[in-house]
């Protein structure tokens, strides 16, 4: 765990060594605001809640989180530093976990910097801050799941653009699987159990519950086990593809 944390610190250093981190955070904060006020019609709704704010998170993550994840392994392979990293006395799992935690913390920082939204609703009215808090937790967990997927895609290629697109596509499937658009296709021929299973894999379904302030232990387990699965898949991808 100590070794993983050393990797985390190095990765965070790498994020903030370039202006990319600040650009990313600025875009994230600006876009959450823009979506909430313009598309979500925050003022017209006349409600002191952040529901619309959070409802755009899955769609923003779809674009932005794979961009955070794409460099994690693809860059190491492209520059050859993966050989340096994996011949140090650390296990592949520690390296994977360390990198994931760094990216997750980075997303957490971006998420925390949306606090002016929270201040705004508290100035304008009296929102249920417990709901807001649970929603933030839900959003953070969802970002972790997106990241774990994106990191696995990054481990499969040395090209960051491919990692980004593959990450977005897989995340998109996980997001969309709760929509009728996708489910209707399966309803045509698949038994109900299959349709329910597919729907239960959706980020949207899980996140909606959390963003209404409902903490269901199953939703937490869902996100955490999804993250674990993709971290494990990343370890395998790194092990098998490291020298390619």
């Amino acid at each position: 765990m100590r070794q993983a944390w050393i990797i985390t610190k190095r990765e965070l250093y790498a994020y903030f060594a370039t202006p990319m981190a600040f650009v990313f955070i600025a875009i994230f904060v600006a876009m959450t605001g823009a979506f909430t006020f313009y598309i979500g019609r925050f003022f017209d709704r006349n409600q002191a809640s952040l529901e619309t704010f959070f409802s755009f998170h899955p769609w923003l993550y779809l674009l932005l989180v794979p961009a955070v994840a794409m460099r994690l392994w693809a860059e190491e392979r492209k520059s050859g530093t993966i050989e340096q990293l994996l011949t140090l006395p650390i296990t592949t799992f520690e390296a994977v976990l360390g990198k994931f935690l760094a990216a997750w913390l980075f997303c957490g920082i971006a998420l925390l910097l949306t606090f002016p939204m929270w201040l705004t609703v508290n100035v304008l009215g009296a929102p249920d801050n417990a709901v807001v808090f649970v929603s933030y937790i839900g959003s953070f967990l969802m970002a972790g799941a997106f990241l774990a997927i994106g990191m696995c895609m990054s481990a499969l290629t040395r090209n960051q653009i491919i990692a980004f697109i593959a990450g977005s596509v897989v995340c998109f499937l996980f997001t969309m699987s709760g929509l009728d658009l996708v489910l209707n296709f399966f309803r045509l021929w698949a038994p109900d159990a299959v349709v329910t299973t597919i729907a239960s894999f959706s980020f949207l379904t899980r996140f909606e519950a959390l963003s209404r302030g409902i903490i269901d232990i199953r939703d937490l387990i869902y996100f955490l086990s999804l993250i674990s699965f993709w971290l494990f898949a990343t370890v395998i991808a790194v092990e098998t593809k490291k020298a390619a």
Partner: protein, 319 residues
């Protein structure tokens, strides 16, 4: 002589391509082993398997008694490894990078600082310590790679082409650094520069097509040349026949060659039977025959020739 690195019948295949084909060798403390071979011979693949970066298809390697397959972390602790081209995190400064390496190696605070200072001093990097790695010249980048490899003062060092792409001064510096450290470590370096073997290695192996073709000191390798220890004399053209006759009278001479240098002088070479030294015998034969010798010298042989001969298969391996 304790064997610090033991490699036992290592094989690595990529699909149908056999990159390393049953290489076995040992390296003891105090030895500097040179991996010689053409590009693509399997030097880097072998090193990567010893370093625990690649998993062998079969066979095994161990470092300081730890098997790479069973205890890769112990192996990586006991070893300093510089990958080919010494890739390091370009976005970091030298100091930040070495601090990261020190942390991974388990050093903290003043202890880490002491190790970093010592490594930086050894590779002469102090001027660059606060520069980002991506602005450094190739020579300095290589020093960063060396500094991270020796930071924890490991008993085993594996350096993949440590002098590749450096200018003569930098090469000299890296070589003297390796020689300085050689007495208390087991060191493996790979190179395709043959002068490096004579300059720093106590022993060399020649690898070609994934196989170990020869293993020995540079003298032992030179002895594989058919004309090793050949003796050449420069004589007046008029005395060539007499010189040839005198040489043929020496018991260990296998055959002779003669060529004209210019109008007045010619060179005659005596090639010995199976590497027997013949210099003094040839010299006295010349004197006895009353030949007017202008020059006499013994061929030292050229490692380049050994290398070409062995890797192109012209000489059968004795290993």
């Amino acid at each position: 002589m304790t064997a610090m690195v033991v490699v036992d019948r290592l094989v690595k295949t990529f699909g149908n391509f056999v990159a390393v084909d049953g290489i076995s060798l040992t390296v003891a403390k105090g030895e500097v082993l040179g991996f010689l071979g053409p590009n693509g011979a399997g030097k880097t693949t072998t090193m990567r398997m010893i370093a625990g970066f690649l998993t062998p298809t079969s066979g095994q390697a161990s470092v300081c008694g730890h098997e790479v397959a069973n205890d890769p972390i112990a192996v990586k602790r006991a070893m300093g490894y510089m990958p080919e081209g010494s890739p390091s995190y370009d976005d970091m400064t030298v100091r930040a990078f070495l601090t990261f390496i020190a942390a991974v190696r388990g050093f903290e605070g003043a202890d880490a600082q002491r190790h970093i200072d010592r490594a930086v001093e050894r590779v002469v990097l102090d001027e660059m310590i606060d520069r980002p790695i991506d602005v450094l010249s190739k020579g300095y980048k290589r020093r960063v790679g060396l500094a991270q490899a020796i930071l924890h003062d490991p008993p085993v060092l594996i350096l993949d082409e440590p002098t590749d792409g450096l200018d003569p001064n930098q090469k000299h510096h890296v070589r003297s650094l390796i020689k300085e450290m050689a007495s208390e470590k087991a060191i493996i370096i790979s190179t395709h520069i043959l002068e490096e073997v004579t300059a720093v290695c106590t022993r060399a192996v020649i690898i070609g097509n994934g196989k170990l073709l020869a293993d020995g000191t540079s003298d032992q390798l030179l002895a594989k040349l058919p004309d090793y220890h050949a003796v050449a004399v420069v004589v007046p053209v008029a005395q060539v026949d007499a010189a040839v006759a005198a040489m043929r009278g020496v018991p260990n001479v296998a055959y002779t060659q003669s060529e004209t240098i210019d109008a007045g002088t010619a060179r005659v070479r005596a090639i010995p039977k199976i590497n027997a030294p013949i210099l003094s015998d040839v010299a006295s034969a010349m004197r006895n025959a009353g030949i007017n010798v202008a020059e006499i010298f013994q061929d030292r042989g050229d490692l380049d020739d050994v290398f070409r001969l062995i890797t192109t298969g012209a000489v059968k391996s004795a290993a």
